[in-house]
Symmetry: D2
């Protein structure tokens, strides 16, 4: 679903309603107690995601239209990082907010949904363009929180020795025994001047533009992400204990935390056992390896004789391949990828790039609170490209720039090799 | 209620049932989400208190009788500090246990209650003495967790800007305008050899014995605890910024944390505003000051020209005064104390002593897991005497030794002055 | 001095001897006690710099030629970050090495100098090319430590309330009252494809290559670095307390450390007072502001209405300007810059760029211990271009890539504005 | 040497001069660089000890007599913990004070020595008593720093992989092969009322008084300290991994730091190897075990079937035994103890007691800066009795109360068993 692909208001209203309903559907398997959990300082409880996205609609859509917030006292709790919008509850203590309850937040969501839909039906033509921009941004913002809702609850459940299960996979035999895994190959690119970045034809975040030319040097990109089997060979070869493979900061991180495997992952003899939203399972050697830090991705790429691609290489291939969402529906973890050509660009695992997250030439952060959205994070983060099995369908695109600090492992991130051609 | 004061099994069974029911009554005003909260590493969620006390009965009463635990997998979650009984979920992560749910724990509690009562009805005479000892200990243990349940939920609620209310006071005008506060005076003691410690006539924790002689030097003890008004004068006089009043460690603690008042307390002009289980309120100048650290208690005593008493001084006075539980029912915070003689020894605020928590002469920790109960904490803790408005009725006694590290403020602790006579 | 610019061995030997002598000259004003100081974990004592550079010659030049180290037991102390060369003394504890003494290290240096010169005189033709590469690298390496020696002793002296003076400026009136400061202007660049990186014609570090094409977008670069006066106006305008100016990580850093000014700097009424290697002095409003973190440089550029340049913009201008070392000899701090055109590219303050430090297209780290040299730091560091008043003459060049983590302030770093054209 | 045991001024002046000279003699084997070392936040450089003790004389003896400090600017550097005497250089950064130099401090010491001696010669009768009190305190204070000077340089040298040697033992075969070690036995005590504390007949610190009655319960005290051989058996028996032996806080400390042996100590097969001021050596099984924390002492006592004594037990035995300094001259580490009766009360290892450090009945801290001396540390410290091989001769006595936090290991502390009789 692309929110702009519509006749007009009705389509956008429907997209809004679908997005809001999907958030609630994702929270539905979780009890009020589950929704309270915050596994670490940068994670948020399910309930908080539900409330913060609602606060966003009240603050950036309804308030400017003169519609007052329903619970003004809650503002301090559910503002996230918008410095311009006043004080905030401490981020690491979101898990200490038992009040308002999940039920109260549900009621608030329904109320705000009604108000937004009513407002969208009534807003006059002169204001429509501005309103449309906020709604598109709000939908994309809520989709981001949908993915975080899943990665955050996984991180929390992983701390419980009872190994809770979020849901069973839909279609229990989802990991398709009949498919043959995609062959590992390379797609070559001759380099030269290419255009990357959002062209303004559909919704995009501010950080995806301006569209601009880049100069690429000849390169090749792997046709599929690096697999669990390849990672297991790296680990068995002592990869985690071979200093020459690691960035200096990565080596210090491995040693400080005693890292031996990606998050939620352990080797058990020949098997690789992974804990995920469906509980614990043995991973298939052909499925993409997932929940690696940038450090691990970089070391693994080096061990495999390749390198991580800069983000422009990934974008150009994704654009030219016309690749779209190819997730295996049903399972909330990556599955072995089948098919010819480039596979798994989207809907499998996010792919770490060697690009540090920074502004494109000509980028200017928009003014106001919305301006805090992306620009202020342009330091000490790495870009990831593609999307993961946990990304809402329709959310990502070839120009999409995800970004996380190098040690991040709770995201569904893997890697795809590149090499100089 | 003294569990030993009974004809026999029926009385003990009734005491067991009452204790268990009281825990549930204390949890009743709290939603499942509230019961999930853990404000800091040494606090525990309400739900965890309910589960851990149940684990205690299964482990130390039912298991030795051959009655297997209902949920063996939960053992790792709800063992607290018994090193001898296997691995444990990380203490600072108790708030991450959304499963089992509060409802599941409630069901487990009811099941275990039935099994215990059934077992108590059937145990044969030969085993009765041993069983009785475990039951008495289990009741006292659960009562301790009842108090912690209240102090822990207060600590958690205090982090929520919405200032949640646990319950309203029973009898809304509880802080009794008609009473005249107790006059501040001294009770003199000539010193000499006295006997302190538990005499074996009723239940007592191991750390209360053996009963033994101590030599007291002549002293006087204040007839009431130090009040909010006295504390406010200390604070207004710059007490928190006068190095000469403080222990060296206390001064460093004040500076590191920017302490200006006891926990949950702030001065607002002439008023002292306190947040508590009934929400925010203005404190009465005559009510005992509460939620102080040992450091603050010591500095305040020095500023007032007195000193903290060693624990033996407090015990001797409490024993001779025949003082018993004098709490103001209805309010879950200290109230101004009326009456002649020594008041507020029990049921108002715990009273910090200058005694470091250590073993009495002849003390030996009992063997086995129960032996871990008290002896192993005899280092770097201060003894508190009396009991607080949050202590279960009947729990404390003149020989009772509470103990907490010096910086502790989440307990309902104040102080009573002493001086050399 | 460019070590390759020579007839042959004699010139290189002379360059070696000059470099080694310069290190000792820099240490000469410092007592044995001064040379012991380590102000923070990533700094090193003067003595350690003198020893580590000596260890480098023994390890990478003499040992491969079969000349055994003079003090094998010292290896563990003076290896720095070469994982491949064995265990290491803990970096944060270099200041705890009173033995060997500064005098012993001086004697060792003289001995190694002799051995190196003797070896250079005798090495046969077949090995010359390899030897030459190591010597050039060793000279450049020792020059880097010369600059660190100065920044590290400044950091240490700054912790002493006596405000020690390293040396007096040479030519006491160094801040040249007669010069008129450089006008602030812009040099425009039309963009297009440019070539950057080392071309192999002279010594360069591995991270400066391979030379490659980049695509530049039209831009303008300021003709001089940002000044103390401009910074003071930013600070007076509340720059440190205006969230919209800051990267998110920078804002957190400012708040955590209570930053109000660059390192060693404070405002005193209208004046800006700076502590440096010549002691405390009032800074001239026209001198480049120095000792800023990347965060401060970024916020200050934003406040001034510009942006930081990517490193390629700086290199292209530096190359085309033919700019060379323009330091004001005599003072060990930046001075107001005079002259037409682009000034202060070198010899004044390092200039933070918006480029994250990463590999150039086609970069491969060389194998072996020397391969650890630069590549492994390509994560979470920002590139700085130019050179500072503390950089050894002849050390830097237009292709030179310095890099430090964003919070770094002990380096003599400032900034130069850029803008889109 | 007891400073009061004298005819009058001359004896006290001589004692002053001897003490000051002894400090310099202890520093003499250390280079200026050695004297700069600070191994951890609570240690101090040799040079700082030399300067701080000199500051003490200037501040508390000369300044009140109108003799101005020679270097007023140094006050901020060399004040230690006297809050009442103004601001202070940060304690953990004493190792960053290269200026003033060791030589300058030596000159200052000589100057102050002269001024003090001159002042003592001239002070009139009316002031003599007050002056005498300050001089006695100053001597005792400087002696404390003499011991710290040794323990602090040991801690610093231990971080250097070269294993520096402070001095060789005097009389190299000092550990007396011909002596037979003291038999291990018990001295029984019937208990009852005893008097402890300083009686005012000679110099004592404020914390040693007032002399007062205590009630002792019958006990027995071991005739010698616990030995290296006993400790080795404890360690070989898995003592460090047996939770039941440990205080709760001690167990956490062992686990956090991976403790397997006292400081500077390791087992190597059957041998116990100890690093000390004479370098590395194999310990004799009969020598007292040293450099234990209170936690280790407590666990070891439990494993041996005894307990640590409260401080009164130790004092009474020491007084009745008439025990005086029995150190083995020559070696700066404990040696096997010979002789009948109670041995090693003094001059071997400090002996941890189970007493928390607190005020005696009737104790009042003296007013003024000197009042900060001991009283403000009466929290979360354990008392040690006796003295060690590093304690200046004549410094300790039966009433002496040393105190350190429970985890402290850099002091020469061991233990002596007690048991109930």
């Amino acid at each position: 679903m692309d929110p702009r692909d519509r006749g007009g208001r009705d389509a956008l209203s429907a997209a809004f309603a679908r997005t809001r309903a999907r958030t609630e559907a994702l929270a539905a398997p979780l009890s009020a107690e589950d929704q309270q959990l915050q596994a670490f300082a940068d994670a948020s409880p399910t309930k908080w995601h539900r409330a913060h996205t609602t606060w966003f609609w009240e603050t950036f859509l309804l308030a400017p239209a003169g519609i007052a917030p329903e619970h003004p006292a809650w503002g301090v709790l559910f503002n996230s990082y918008y410095e311009a919008v006043g004080p905030r509850h401490l981020r690491p203590e979101r898990g200490l907010l038992s009040r308002p309850s999940a039920a109260e937040i549900g009621a608030w969501r329904r109320l705000v949904d009604e108000r937004v839909l009513e407002h969208l039906a009534r807003v006059d033509e002169a204001q429509w363009e501005a309103v449309r921009g906020v709604v598109e941004l709000g939908i994309a913002h809520e989709q981001q929180h949908q993915e975080l809702l899943l990665t955050d609850i996984l991180a929390a459940f992983a701390r419980n020795e009872l190994r809770p299960v979020y849901t069973d996979p839909i279609g229990a035999d989802a990991p398709h025994p009949t498919r043959s895994p995609a062959a590992s190959g390379w797609i070559e690119h001759a380099g030269g001047i290419a255009r990357i970045g959002a062209d303004g034809a559909g919704f995009a975040f501010d950080n995806e533009g301006p569209r601009h030319e880049v100069l690429l040097h000849p390169f090749a990109l792997a046709t599929r992400p690096v697999t669990v089997g390849e990672w297991a060979a790296f680990a068995a070869d002592g990869g985690y204990h071979t200093p020459a493979l690691w960035l200096s900061e990565g080596l210090a991180w491995v040693r400080e935390h005693g890292v031996e495997a990606p998050a939620y992952t352990r080797r058990e003899g020949e098997a690789v056992v992974v804990y995920g939203l469906h509980g614990e399972r043995e991973a298939h050697p052909d499925e993409p390896v997932c929940h690696l830090s940038f450090y691990e991705a970089d070391a693994l790429a080096t061990w495999l004789g390749g390198r991580l691609p800069p983000e422009a290489e990934g974008e150009v291939v994704a654009t030219e391949a016309g690749a779209h969402d190819g997730r295996g529906e049903g399972a909330l973890h990556p599955v072995p990828l089948a098919g010819a050509g480039v596979v798994g660009l989207f809907g499998s695992v996010w792919q770490w790039t060697r690009s540090s997250y920074g502004p494109y030439p000509g980028f200017r952060a928009p003014p106001g609170a919305i301006g805090e959205y992306n620009g202020k994070f342009m330091c000490n983060q790495q870009v990831l490209r593609g999307s993961s099995v946990l990304t809402p369908p329709g959310h990502a695109r070839a120009t999409y720039r995800n970004f996380w600090p190098a040690p991040t492992r709770f995201q569904a991130a893997g890697l795809r090799l590149a090499r100089d051609a």
